[in-house]
Symmetry: C2
């Protein structure tokens, strides 16, 4: 069996229990662990499989790499036409780890939505500062989610899971998706229909990946048609939002609030105006994280490794 | 029809839209709006119906009051044997507004649980103070709720709704209930079984009402058997918890965190040690509040008024 022992390159650096799992799970193969990601890395170019965050150009030009598994949900540098055509032409595969991240990201969005609805940050700010008892003010500003309108920008695994989590809350959900597959649990609209749905949305949730077509997707024009009571969330990528427009909308009251997990740049510098903009709430790109995340990443790779060896379709296969 | 025009006493003081709704909905009757609740109030003692927060002793001794509808979920002062026997003996009814509060309270608990799981308060504290980018620390401390164990102390309308909201999160739920009705969606245990379930609980959620049997229900002995990683929530009443024991457990690390909406006393004084105890998160009795709450309270009363007039069972009838 020609596939029996392969050269697996990896630049992941996890805590020991996860690394041990990786070494054990790849013991039939030659595991090459590198600590640096460099363009001239000959071990990457000559490997059969890469796991982690390999250099995209080396991957594209390598004639030996047959499968690249990214340990992230994002794959911006691999989302180019050239990459697609070059990998396809030599029968190489690309997969990512999105199913490791759909659950925590969906739970993170639920936490953001519930937090604002119940004025959780406002109560916590009182606890840290004044320690008064703003019961009446916070109760009067809290709201129930039932019956409110949600527009999801993007509809992948995270959105699918979020829809499940939101189901008992009885909200009205629609999603914008480039290509409708017909198996979505909620109505799907196309980008041109956004102008009809944004003005009635109470919650606009951005889960878009970063690529050429999503840059500044949420721009001044789109924000301007939203309700003044609307809340904008972003756990996609910071570059999909025109941050200047977002800042202006928060300062003018054109948006009631925003809860964002991603910014441009990251880390957001301590003096950046988003930190102190009115009703702007920021989590520092934590939406995907959880205890056991690294073991899950390794298990996902090993699961796909077994499928790769038997020629089956990969989980989270992109190319 | 002898019931056609009744004397309805009320001491509610809501914003105008809700008061207008109340006046319109009771226009067939004589509505007596009082601004003070006093023991000697002759209009209460001689009314047919009371809506709001009437004095419990006047209610108990009045020979004319046939129905009291409380505009709260709590009914501590009416939860006595004497009240039960006196009202029953003269065929008077008591109802509360618990179904106005089950949804916001269940959503509040979900917000607390999701917030801690996703380190939402920790991220917000960073935003208010240092404005660094503690991505790795917060990701590593975040956790998924799936598979975690929940013990609910109390199983009424709020718990029922919380179970629905938690269903897609796939947690393991059990509830302690005085009397099992058999229609609970989750396993119900009796108080004596708590010693088996508390040691494996990741989340202990207190929704108990205040009465003689629930005072200090969560005491040092019960806290001592909980896991050191357990989180304790309270949206019931502050008096059901031994706050000294809770404080000690937070300081010793015997409890990982607590999220409480009720305290004893309320308001909690600015210098109270709970405000600054480690991993203690406080919302100022806001769990039941929401935009439209007062209209909902009036509508609930008016709904019951129609049922009272036709002799039907009341919604949220206690006696």
């Amino acid at each position: 069996m020609k596939n029996s022992s392969l050269k697996i390159w990896s630049n992941v650096k996890y805590y020991e229990t996860a690394m041990k799992l990786l070494r054990q799970g790849t013991s039939d193969h030659q595991l090459i662990l590198v600590s640096e990601t460099i363009r001239e890395d000959p071990s990457l170019a000559s490997a059969d499989i890469a796991f982690g965050q390999p250099d995209a150009e080396v991957v594209r030009q390598s004639s030996s790499l047959r499968w690249v598994h990214l340990d992230s949900a994002g794959y911006e540098k691999f989302d180019t036409r050239l990459m697609h055509s070059d990998l396809r032409s030599r029968g190489a595969k690309l997969s990512n780890s999105s199913s490791v991240y759909d659950e925590p990201c969906a739970e993170h969005l639920l936490a953001m939505m519930m937090g604002l609805a119940r004025r959780i940050p406002h109560a916590f700010e009182n606890q840290l500062k004044d320690r008064m008892w703003p019961m009446m003010e916070l109760r009067a500003a809290s709201y129930l989610l039932a019956g409110q309108n949600v527009v999801l920008l993007g509809f992948g695994a995270i959105a699918r899971r979020l829809v499940e989590l939101l189901t008992p809350l009885r909200m009205n959900l629609v999603a914008v998706r480039r290509q409708k597959t017909g198996d979505e649990q909620i109505p799907v609209i196309v980008e041109s229909e956004l102008e009809k749905y944004l003005p009635i949305a109470d919650h606009v949730i951005n889960i878009l990946p970063a690529n050429a077509s999503t840059r500044n997707f949420v721009n001044a024009a789109r924000i301007s048609v939203m309700k003044r009571s609307a809340i904008f969330y972003n756990i996609g990528r910071g570059t999909t939002v025109d941050q200047e427009a977002l800042l202006a909308a928060l300062h003018s009251g054109q948006l009631a609030a925003t809860y964002i997990d991603v910014t441009d740049p990251e880390p957001l510098p301590p003096g950046h105006p988003l930190w102190t903009a009115p009703n702007c709430f920021i989590t520092p790109h934590t939406a995907g994280g959880y205890i056991g995340e690294k073991e899950r990443l390794v298990r996902h790779f090993l699961y796909n490794l077994r499928r790769f060896m038997t020629g089956e379709n990969l989980l989270d296969q992109i190319i």
